[in-house]
């Protein structure tokens, strides 16, 4: 009798732990949606709505179109966004990458840009990723102040080289899309 009670207790405990973990995971994901995703969607919807309704979007798209529609153009885009002076300014919250991405998205939606451009474009709009965050990111890794002094320019210069390389690799991998 005691054996059975113990067995039941163990099952109950285990199930409780799993259900608790899953419930907590659900709570976290709803939190993330409400705190991070929905506000950004509201912001994007407002900006994109205005841009589409006023026709500014067409003008901007026409500006980006020549850059976005050829490999050389995308490499130039990645070089501009990855410039060591610009990249830390364009980084915060990935806002610029998200807006350019959404603008280009409207061009894919209307088939003005072919689908195989999407992969290199994803890398061309993003060579600045994390460039605004280098000192904080290094501090999170418990880096010495000297490492931060060397590390900030090292990462910024590296992006000038690896940004265009990323676009080229993405271009190769976009075959067949």
């Amino acid at each position: 009798m005691q054996g059975i009670t113990k067995f039941l207790e163990r099952i109950g405990r285990g199930a409780g732990r799993v259900v608790g973990t899953l419930y907590q995971a659900g709570r976290e994901s709803i939190d993330q949606v409400v705190k991070n995703i929905l506000p950004f969607m509201a912001f994007i919807a407002f900006i994109i709505g205005i841009i589409l309704a006023t026709g500014v979007g067409d003008a901007l798209a026409r500006l980006l179109q020549p850059l976005a529609s050829s490999p050389v153009g995308l490499i130039i885009m990645s070089l501009i966004i990855g410039l060591p002076v610009l990249s830390p300014l364009l980084g915060p919250g990935a806002v610029i990458a998200q807006i350019i991405g959404t603008l280009l998205g409207t061009q894919f939606a209307s088939q003005a840009l072919p689908a195989y451009i999407a992969l290199p474009a994803l890398f061309a709009i993003n060579p600045q990723v994390g460039c605004d965050f280098i000192p904080v990111g290094l501090a999170l890794g418990e880096a010495e102040p000297e490492t931060v002094e060397v590390g900030v320019p090292a990462v910024l210069f590296s992006r000038l080289i690896t940004g265009p390389i990323a676009v080229i690799i993405a271009w190769v991998f976009s075959v067949g899309l």
């Binding site: 994007i44 998205g105 894919f108």
Partner: protein, 179 residues
Amino acid sequence: MDFLVQAAVWFIGLFQKGAEVFVGLVTGIIPLVIVLLTAFNALIALIGQERIDKIGEAAGKEGFRYMPLRYLILPVVAVFVLTNPMAYTMGRFLPEKYKPAFYDAAVSFVHPPLGIFPHVNPGELFVWAGIAQGVTTGYGAAETAALAVRYLIVGLIVIFIRGIVTERITAFLWARRAA
């Protein structure tokens, strides 16, 4: 009078377009993201931090053959389990000279998995979703799925290259500074 009515219609039209976009985003993206986020949040809670720390300790070793561990496996696991921005804390296991390169590799991996694993960086989902939403509308969901997989694969190659290049540049700058 007619002019006023037209102006009002135009004005509200600006926001109606935005509302259309918003509904598309909410119904198209959020339900899937919620379910995925829940699954991965639970998985991460069950794996636990201690197991990840062990990889970090191994990745700090000297030598060429530890590069894939340092700039591929460690950043991928860190971003996947700890997500942005806590992933960068894994740099604490590495010698100072490797920290900038590790940060570069890790931070470059917070977007490429978004098409399949949105939990790594839900706050910056639109780096991926902006283009993906357009591709889905223009070319269909299958095309977007293929794009998501390739984004992840190319991301892996790019962070590895970035780790190596940044490690070299760091060494160069460090040597010049000492001289």
